[in-house]
């Protein structure tokens, strides 16, 4: 496991698979969009507004998953004193932030025709907004501080604190009475979504995961080259 995420191996892997990932993304997004916008059925209550789900839900899942990985990597980095974990975490942040923004904006657009409002201070939505702020603080912590050590310390603290918000987002719809509906897709229990809607949802999720991987690999390569640039100065 640690061998794969070794900078040399990850850099080499990135150069080899980026093009394959890019073409996979183009194919997946083309199939996903045609399914989501055309072939999937409309909902009997929400009508065509339900199609927003195909971008909103995968974005929310990816932003949650990404922050969870970032938090865990920050904990491992703190325990094992491995700086590569922090570089990986840093490179994951931008796509995670973008997807949290997409989840918030598309959720707001979906809220208008279904709830009659763009925004509500509902527990799930507020917790998602908080996640967006955690992402923003994390990214800014790498930008605004001068010393490398300070950047690493502050970003680790933000990622570890932000991880507390993840179960709150996940279970907010069960713990409190909220405007946001409860989960229709469950791993442990039976999902309440029909397969005709599940298929495009899965395709769009895979497409977004592939997109996140492309962004991560490009960011990671840029970070490693940045370090190598410093190395050339010292030669």
């Amino acid at each position: 496991m640690f061998q794969i995420i070794n900078p040399k191996n990850l850099f080499s892997l990135s150069n080899k698979i980026r093009k394959i990932l890019f073409f996979s993304f183009i194919i997946l997004i083309a199939i996903g969009l045609s399914e989501a916008l055309w072939f999937s059925p409309k909902d009997y209550i929400q009508s065509h507004a339900v199609r927003i789900m195909y971008v909103h839900v995968p974005s929310a899942w990816i932003s949650l998953g990404t922050f969870l990985i970032m938090g865990l990597l920050s904990i491992f980095s703190f325990i094992l004193k491995n700086k590569n974990f922090l570089i990986i975490s840093k490179c994951l942040a931008s796509s995670g932030f973008m997807f949290s923004l997409v989840a918030l904006v598309t959720g707001s657009i979906w809220g208008k025709p279904t709830w009659g409002t763009w925004w509500a201070w509902d527990s799930r939505i507020t917790a998602m907004l908080l996640l967006g702020f955690f992402y923003l603080m994390y990214i800014l912590s790498w930008q605004i501080f001068e010393k490398e050590e300070t950047k690493q310390k502050i970003s680790t603290i933000i990622a570890i604190l932000g991880i507390i918000n993840i179960p709150i987002i996940k279970f907010s719809v069960d713990w409190w009475s909220t405007l946001h509906q409860s989960s229709s897709v469950n791993i442990l229990s039976k999902s309440t979504i029909h397969s005709s809607m599940m298929v495009p949802l899965v395709i769009m999720t895979v497409a977004f995961v592939v997109f996140s991987a492309i962004i991560f690999l490009m960011k990671y390569n840029a970070e490693i080259i940045k370090l190598k640039n410093k190395g050339l100065d010292r030669l």
């Binding site: 040399k8 916008l37 065509h48 507004a49 931008s94 490009m218 490693i224 080259i225």
Partner: protein, 77 residues
């Protein structure tokens, strides 16, 4: 048929704006990341080109340096 796809019984404005916003964000993030990567690569190529012969030999021994130089179109191995 096309009109039906765009109007979506009055929900088209919401559905299309959500999808366009998502794809727009993806495009922007991809372009910004690509530019950042190219910028770092170009910086590396410039610095590498200015190195003395003996230092180039040392730098070339490193696997990652070799991998970066593969992306340089006119680089002679």
């Amino acid at each position: 048929m096309i009109e039906k796809l765009f109007s979506m019984e009055g929900y088209g404005i919401f559905v299309w704006s959500a999808f366009i916003f998502t794809l727009f964000c993806c495009c922007i993030l991809y372009l910004v990341t690509k530019i950042q990567l190219k910028k770092q690569e170009n910086k590396f190529f410039v610095k590498f080109g200015k190195l003395a012969e003996d230092k180039i030999k040392i730098a070339k021994k490193q696997k990652i340096n070799k991998e970066i130089l593969v992306n340089k179109p006119d680089y002679n191995f």
